[in-house]
Symmetry: D2
Subunit: 269 residues, 4 copies
């Protein structure tokens, strides 16, 4: 049913383990956390320390933001990356950030421990090829309109360039439902596990877009066999410059961390 899977196919392949700092995707539950955007040194360092304290494995933060409107906050760029690097120094956690432009891949890869390809760029084939030429692990989000076949074919573009370190991320697809921001398709996590040797995580924050639903959907993601979670956390969501409606408060994040770690231990213990 899924055509042209060569390098990503599970047939005869060993499960891929992707190392990012001290974390290994494919072994235990890896939690990526942080704010949607890097807004300032104070904001990012503060949140970085909090999520480290609460058990996150990797820091996330956007410095190039793909915003629907050109009049919305577009990210801090290089200045943001420097703040992220500083947070890595302080917390010891590796950092992942989204890259949008082929021209930025090389220099962003010097700062970031992992490069993210966002949902809107999942079929930006030039960008896929470019991150495929780096030696950085890549977090490949599923396009909001993309079939599982298209998602794995996008991963195939990266592997075909020589970079085997791809982690897939289900972040919700676009449907007619409007109560949630997107529809988090956890069956894709299970499907990908039977089709490919790559690790796959879930992003309930973007998947549902409502803090009140994120905790339970994080547990569901772990039960669906996700190798990790990506969660948006902000110490002051109401004043966040992007995605303010879906960020978790530190306390809620801490609660979720306890539960998902416990569930992961129960399921794999």
């Amino acid at each position: 049913m899924i055509k042209n899977l060569k390098l990503t196919s599970i047939d005869g392949a060993k499960k891929t383990l992707v190392k990012v700092g001290a974390a290994t995707f494919g072994k235990g539950l890896v939690v990526i956390a942080g704010p949607c955007s890097v807004e300032s040194e104070e904001q990012f360092i503060t949140i970085a320390k909090i999520v480290k304290e609460l058990g996150a494995d990797i820091l996330r933060g956007g410095v190039f933001k793909p915003r629907t409107s050109p009049y919305a906050f577009q990210g801090l760029g290089l200045a943001g990356l420097k703040i992220m690097a500083q947070a890595r120094e302080i917390t010891g956690l590796p950092i992942v950030t989204e890259v949008l432009d082929t021209r930025d891949v090389t220099w962003v890869a010097e700062y970031a421990d992992m490069l993210q390809i966002g949902a809107r760029n999942m079929q930006n084939f030039s960008l896929l090829k470019e991150v495929g030429k780096t030696n950085r692990p890549v977090l490949l989000k599923r396009g909001m309109h993309s079939t599982i076949e298209e998602w794995l074919s996008a991963a195939e573009y990266i592997l075909a360039e020589g970079n085997p370190n791809v982690v897939l991320c289900e972040r919700g697809i676009r449907t007619f439902e409007t109560y949630t921001r997107n529809t988090l398709d956890l069956s894709s996590v299970v499907a990908v596990k039977e089709l490919t040797h790559l690790p796959v995580i879930a992003d309930p924050s973007h998947g549902v877009g409502k803090p009140s639903l994120i905790g339970q959907m994080s547990l569901a993601s772990v039960a669906a066999s996700a190798d990790g979670l990506m969660l948006e956390v902000h110490n002051n969501p109401e004043e966040a410059l992007s995605d303010k409606d879906q960020a978790l408060l530190p306390e809620a994040f801490g609660e979720i961390m306890k539960k998902v770690r416990g569930l992961s231990d129960y399921l794999n213990g």
Copy 2:
């Protein structure tokens, strides 16, 4: 965001418990299992004994089948109901079956312990009103094209007629993805829990339509806080008269039962 919820709204309401035989939706995990269609006495009694043995709480079986084509098997009707009643005698398990026509509600309600409204009839308002006039618990599946608001409004139709015993069932929505039969929207389970006092279960069999994905999605459903599961089981899926591609073999069903019971105990214990 959800308008006109009066009787189903959680505001100020106690969680509804729906009793069907010895099972109580809203208290522990209730598992409904059985074949898609009642095909013959031998087939149904055989499967009924198996699922009872493996821990199911309620027997399912279709005697009126809503088939896309008029040339496909349409169900055994009354003869099928009698077989189901016989299986109840033998196993002691209550039975649930789908009703399609307002004219059938009264007499089907005499045989069945619980009436199912299928996805295609979720907005068949005459039928909703009719089952609302009975004293039988109703299993209300979400339409494959229905928003959460429409689904709860459909429940409202039943409650407004005086029947408070409604159990909601997420069974997957229709999206562009073709790898799975539908997209099981587990966020709807969580959303319904924060909006209404009614119990809600998940149907991973219809939700994904592939046996290889059902076990993991059953676990995910439980982790998403579903009050129960509906699973299709057949002792000889290849010769099933309907939905043969998605039925679980008894052995797979037994494995899933162990895991979901264990998970439910872990999460609620």
Copy 3:
């Protein structure tokens, strides 16, 4: 690609002509017009006279309304049908109305010249069989979630019962787009023409749900080879009891009538 089409297939079949009063679907452009709901004698007779004057061929009006919420206006029932019959007397135009319940089909068929199966009941197979047993022409709307294959299979149910007089109606499918109420899929009109011998019309009122878009989409429907149009007209939309946001004012309807008649003549002249 479309399976199990026997009675509706175009292979070797002559185009079906469906007569309703003086109008013939399959020959020229048939326009069905009127309010969403029959609200009162005065309202319906007024609008009936207007649309007759402006060139409509058939009167529409709902007396059983399939409303999302049980607390919304549900229609006048028999009283409404009697008003429609009166309007037929006065205008000489035949009437079409939706039927929702198998128990109502026989007596509604005594009043109405054409029976409508609405989008929400397109896979209410009991209802399809029941209208298939009458000798009334049937207007079969496409379900908002239904594939072309499912839509034609629904028509097959009606023909299989002995009623050959089915007219298909594209009324928009549900997608992620929220600017329009639904997405009017005109390619389905063309597709149906190459697959089946049945006439097919379009309902731009429900398809787009915005008066400002309906005129142009009516022209597009005619150019896509629709055999007719169904349009909602109200003399006082703001006080309409249902669908008030999409009804055309008489003047706008008159303008559209001139343009679509002209275009139909141009294309077929």
Copy 4:
């Protein structure tokens, strides 16, 4: 309902006319035609001469192909552009081609008269900004998952960089329907006309993906007020290197040209 439209809003603005060679989008019907991919000098020049002869205004051809699989034909790149330039010399028709990578924009803009942003890159904001910095007219396709609001916001990115010459192109959205390749949403053409001053065309070839449906949908597009059409034509579709199932044969294209020109004259004459 549509937020943040500043530069593209119709409020108080004059309709934009976009000139590409002798053609003017916004004045009469502009037809863009040619093969999906530039495959060879012989192939492209042959088709270019044919479509010129049959009345096309602009030549299309892909030299960078955004293919789902990395193992599919990716386009001829610069060699393809040179062939396109040669075809322009011979036919006198301007050329439009898709650009995928920010690094290619400047040099491709030296060859092409119009730059296309494909559906998969509609929210590749870096690319939008880059074509916004050129003085070339831009053909902006709607993403297969994009709302009208997102589409116009993408246009806003281009205008905000100083390039006012944007032509929008509806090419079908992704829905659950599988009979057609996509669902051509002609209501978006009408909606865009009431929201913005930019010209908008339709691409029935991608929209439906079946030659048998393209002619009628081209007429429907014109009736929906599209300012132009984009059509794929191939003299030997069965051996085409991409999109072979949807290309029109020259004869069919010629028939469509006669009909759409006639209809355009009728509607605007």
